[in-house]
């Protein structure tokens, strides 16, 4: 609505988008999950280092679904509650593969840079 708010959303998106998307896709490799499970899984597997602001998960899910990388359906959760489940689509799987290899490249590149710094 107001320009200020929009700018804030974009800034957060820039920072988080790629990584968060990849993390969500990776989480779904294990099977379909609903929003809360996805957030919890990311936190747990990162040993609570990556604290997902849970609300921001939903725009990311929306975006991923919009691009056809994930698909959603309503189901019943382990707590016997109605919940919206997300699953990985074949396109999402390809995207995850692409992103994780890019991530690996990035990490190793950063690693090399940091290692040189150490030596001097």
């Amino acid at each position: 609505m107001s320009p200020r708010k929009k700018k804030g959303a974009e800034a957060r998106g820039e920072m988080m988008q790629g990584t968060l998307d990849m993390l969500v896709l990776q989480t779904l490799v294990l099977g379909p999950a609903h929003g809360y499970t996805i957030a919890e899984t990311i936190e747990r597997r990162s040993d609570a280092v990556l604290q997902v602001e849970q609300g921001s998960l939903y725009p990311a899910l929306h975006r991923l679904e919009d691009r056809g990388w994930i698909a959603s359906f309503w189901g019943t959760s382990e707590n016997n509650r109605r919940a919206r489940y997300y699953r990985l689509t074949p396109a999402g799987r390809r995207q995850l593969h692409h992103e994780s290899s890019r991530w690996a490249q990035l990490v190793s590149a950063i690693g090399r840079v940091m290692a040189i710094g150490d030596n001097t």
Binding site: H34, G35, Q54, Y58, H62, R81, A83
Partner: protein, 885 residues
């Protein structure tokens, strides 16, 4: 984002809300499982999640298209606002609808006839040769040529393809399946369709062999007739059908929708020659410029073709050959009326726009408070202007849709009035061009006339606007000035239109008032084509006339019956005559040729129409072949050729021989175009009446290729079955002779002034619309003055002013503006009515009565429309008014 998402974004949002609730519930479940208190769990979950509203909003915006989103919101708001002020909305929508409707209808005519090129390949290469003559008596142009000129053209014109045709449409009898029907035929020479560029859909066009005198009979059918009479069977090609009583081979069928100059059922070969029809200027030449050839080349060749004939040139007469584009030549008679009508529509459109601007201006002022509130709440000026523009666009869209609907109705009405005058080579409908134009101009008008008030309104001083209660927010004085100017221009333009409509109405009335010269009541007519192999001799023709008339006259209720070649109010045949008496005076030298109009008539003709015999006698049964050849002339004939010495008992040579003038009858009105004095659409002309029984077969056969004789029956009172009696009487003599439409003589009269009626009705409709709009403009101005000055008036009345004084104060500006508009309008009308002078008959363009009437009418309208809102003051309660503010 996808459009599907866009339209589903509300449903989508509801789903997200549900999903977020589920998320929070799961988190709370988890927290409780880890030992949190039930009440605390929910709060902590919400804390960790963040603001659900922001999340939802973010997703909602991801689904949205910002421009569309704003637009949809603006349109919704506009509709809500417009619904809240139905009076304003209705007025504005109707204003636009009237303007758009009138324009759509008249534009469709103009577009079809003048703007759109002819529907033939490379129409710009098609031209008609025309000779321009300057004589001491005057100048003019003529495109009709005779057989000798046509033959010379075929020899000399090499830089264009040429074909001969006749633009005269005549009746013909078609017999198929034992059923005789009356159809319309046109004559075209070999190569005509090739030159035009439209080959027949089936078969071929006429060969030169078929197009020569005595060649094999051939006919080309229109698509319509082929469907109607032959069920669209292609097998009819190359078979022989009975046309004009003779077998004709069907050589071609034209494509659907093809039309040359008028609606024709079949074409027969022209068979141009230097004799017979070709002895007079009864042909037209159609030329298609050869590739690379220029018009001046063709013009030079035409001049050479003319010179090669070695015709004697008259003293002081210069002839120049020129070519004019086919479309221009075909629209000669309609261009002026159409352009005038379009100009009138343009004026109505301008008035409508002026009205619209006034309405929007007034509205913007009454909405000053709303606008000030919105701007005070932080809405940007751009957003408010955009909102106001969207409002105008919504109004325009509704008005445009209504207007196009109105245009369809109006066009139908106009076409009914105009007959096939404008359906020259195609049917006229409101097509996508007219619709697109309507949309475009209503959008432009909405933007142009919405923008100014919108900018004006948003220049408001927010504090002022709120404090003043909205009544004087947007600088009252300048807005008022603009509206006054608008009202003055509306009235002025209204004067122009009303004067135009008044003059055209007076023209029509003048034509209606012309003395017909005969008794129109209870006369029925029907014609039949005698261009028929069975009617090639004078005996056969006269036997038909006599036997059928005998039966009709024997019918109860029939008072008189006769046959005539031509009718009053129609064009009749031009024919030369030669005075034989030596003692003729002043320009009427014996032995010289003059032109008059001729019709053959049966005995009883003058009785049947009740045309008074002024001197001598009418045509009698005894004026048969073999008896002394006689002729009856009308008063106009005597006036024109024998003004002093009298024509009775003189001898003239006309229609096949020497004849004695045995009677003089009263003048009747004839229609255009014909030969004679005056050029009004209806006028009296010199006529010679020759007995049908004394007309030679050669003359009859020639004239029957153009004209069909008409049976005329006068009933004693209104006898409804007379039509049938007439048809069955003719059928009992010749069952294979189809009658063309049976119609009353009043219909014949009406069609003679159809063009003038058309102009009158259209101009009156437009002027009425203009007057209504002007009245609305004045009404609106005074109404808002009353609203704005309610408080002031209340104070005055509280201080002792009477209600009538207050009414006067408020209405005087409206009347003063009207007077100013009237003065300007009269000046404008005087300047512009000279352009319609060619459409006026029996009335001067400066006709004082018309101007006075228009001024009085508009003045009365101004008073009524000023008083109506002002009288609200009488219901005003001063005490309440003061308390309210």
């Amino acid at each position: 984002m996808s459009l599907r998402r866009f339209f589903r974004r509300a449903a989508w949002d509801r789903e997200r809300a549900e999903e977020i609730d589920a998320h929070l519930a799961h988190m709370a479940d988890d927290l409780r499982a880890r030992g949190a208190a039930s009440s605390e769990a929910g709060r902590r979950a919400r804390l960790r999640f963040g603001n659900p509203a922001i999340v939802r909003e973010e997703i909602y915006q991801m689904n949205s298209i910002p421009i569309v989103e704003t637009l949809v919101r603006d349109v919704r708001y506009a509709l809500r606002v417009l619904r809240r002020s139905p009076g304003f909305t209705l007025t504005a929508v109707l204003t636009i609808a009237v303007a758009i409707g009138a324009n759509a209808a008249v534009f469709s005519l103009v577009d079809a006839v003048l703007l759109r090129p002819l529907p033939y390949p490379h129409p710009e290469r098609l031209v008609i040769p025309e000779v321009r003559y300057v004589t001491p008596q005057g100048s003019g142009t003529q495109s009709a040529i005779d057989g000798r000129t046509w033959e010379a053209i075929t020899r000399h014109v090499t830089s264009a393809e040429a074909a001969v045709y006749s633009d005269w449409r005549s009746g013909a009898n078609l017999t198929s399946g034992g059923q005789a029907t009356h159809v319309n035929q046109a004559r075209v020479g070999a190569g005509y369709f090739r030159v035009l560029g439209v080959p027949p859909a089936f078969g071929r066009e006429f060969t030169p062999d078929e197009d020569t005198v005595g060649g094999p009979n051939a006919v080309i059918l229109s698509h319509g007739l082929w469907q109607r009479a032959f069920g669209g069977d292609p097998g009819v090609l190359d078979t022989t059908i009975l046309v004009r009583g003779e077998g004709h081979r069907v050589v071609g069928i034209m494509p659907e929708g093809f039309r040359a100059t008028s609606d024709v059922d079949l074409w027969t070969p022209m068979r141009a020659s230097a004799t017979g029809q070709g002895g007079g200027t009864n042909y037209q030449a159609l030329l298609r410029l050869a590739p690379g050839a220029t018009e001046s080349q063709v013009e030079a060749e035409l001049a050479a073709a003319w010179d090669s004939q070695g015709r004697p040139s008259s003293e002081g007469v210069t002839l120049t050959w020129a070519v004019v584009p086919l479309q221009q030549s075909l629209t000669e008679g309609t261009r002026d009326t159409l352009v005038t009508m379009w100009a009138a529509v343009g004026l109505v459109f301008v008035i409508a726009c002026v009205n619209l601007a006034g309405l929007l201006l007034a509205r913007a002022r009454t909405r000053a408070k709303e606008i000030a509130t919105r701007m005070a709440l932080g809405s940007g000026r751009r957003a408010v202007v955009r909102q106001l523009l969207v409002e105008s666009l919504v109004l325009a869209a509704i008005g445009c849709a209504l207007g196009v609907g109105l245009g369809v109705v109006l066009l139908e009405l106009l076409q009914e009035l105009a007959g096939d005058r404008y359906a020259l080579w195609q049917n006229v409908t409101i097509d996508w061009r007219a619709a697109a134009l309507s949309v475009a101009i209503s959008a432009c008008a909405a933007l142009a006339f919405g923008l100014l008030p919108a900018l004006h309104a948003t220049r408001v001083d927010v504090q002022e606007g709120l404090r003043e209660g909205g009544s004087r927010g947007a600088s009252a004085s300048s807005g008022g000035w603009a509206r006054r100017a608008l009202v003055v221009s509306e009235v002025a333009l209204g004067v122009v239109l009303l004067v135009g409509a008044g003059l055209l109405t007076r023209t029509f009335v003048a034509l209606q008032r012309l003395d017909p010269g005969f008794d129109l009541s209870n006369v029925v007519t029907a014609s039949a084509s005698l261009e028929d192999s069975r009617y090639q001799t004078a005996e056969r023709i006269n036997a038909l006339f006599e036997q059928s008339l005998e039966r009709i006259r024997a019918t109860p209720g029939v008072e008189a019956a006769a046959v005539s070649l031509g009718l009053p109010y129609e064009r009749i045949l031009n024919l030369g005559f030669r005075p034989l008496d030596g003692e003729a005076v002043a320009g009427i030298a014996a032995g010289r040729n003059f032109i008059t109009n001729m019709t053959y008539v049966s005995d009883g003709y003058f009785d049947a129409l009740r045309i008074p015999v002024r001197a001598g006698r009418g045509i009698l049964e005894t004026d048969r072949a073999g008896a002394t050849p006689v002729v009856v002339v009308n008063e106009a004939f005597q006036r024109t050729y024998y003004p002093e010495q009298g024509v009775l008992a003189r001898r003239i040579a006309v229609s096949g021989g020497e004849r004695e003038v045995v009677g003089i009858v009263g003048d009747v009105q004839q229609g255009q175009p014909g030969w004679g004095d005056g050029s009004g659409p209806i006028r009296t002309t010199p006529i010679v009446y020759v007995p049908a029984s004394q007309t030679p077969a050669g003359t009859m056969n020639l004239v029957h290729t153009w004209f069909s004789p008409t049976w005329i029956v006068r009933a004693a009172g209104s006898v409804p079955s007379i039509d049938r009696a007439l048809s069955s009487a003719v059928a009992s003599v010749d069952p294979q002779l189809p009658l063309a439409s049976v119609r009353g003589i009043d219909e014949v009269r009406a069609s003679a002034s159809a063009a003038e009626r058309f102009m009158m009705v259209l101009a009156t409709l437009l002027a009425g619309a203009a007057m209504l709009l002007a009245a609305m403009g004045i009404h609106g101005l005074i109404a808002s003055a009353v609203t704005e000055r309610t408080r002031e008036i209340g104070i005055r009345m509280a201080l002792g002013s009477t209600a009538m004084q207050a009414v006067r104060t408020v209405t005087i500006p409206g009347i003063a503006l009207t007077v100013a508009g009237l003065v300007i309008g009269v000046v404008l009308a005087r300047a512009s009515t000279k352009y319609i002078e060619s459409l006026l008959w029996g009335v001067e363009a400066a006709d004082a009565a018309t101007y006075a009437l228009v001024a009085a009418l508009l003045f009365a309208v101004a008073i009524v429309s000023s008083l109506m809102p002002a009288l609200r003051i009488l219901r005003l309660d001063p005490a309440r008014t003061l308390r309210a503010s």
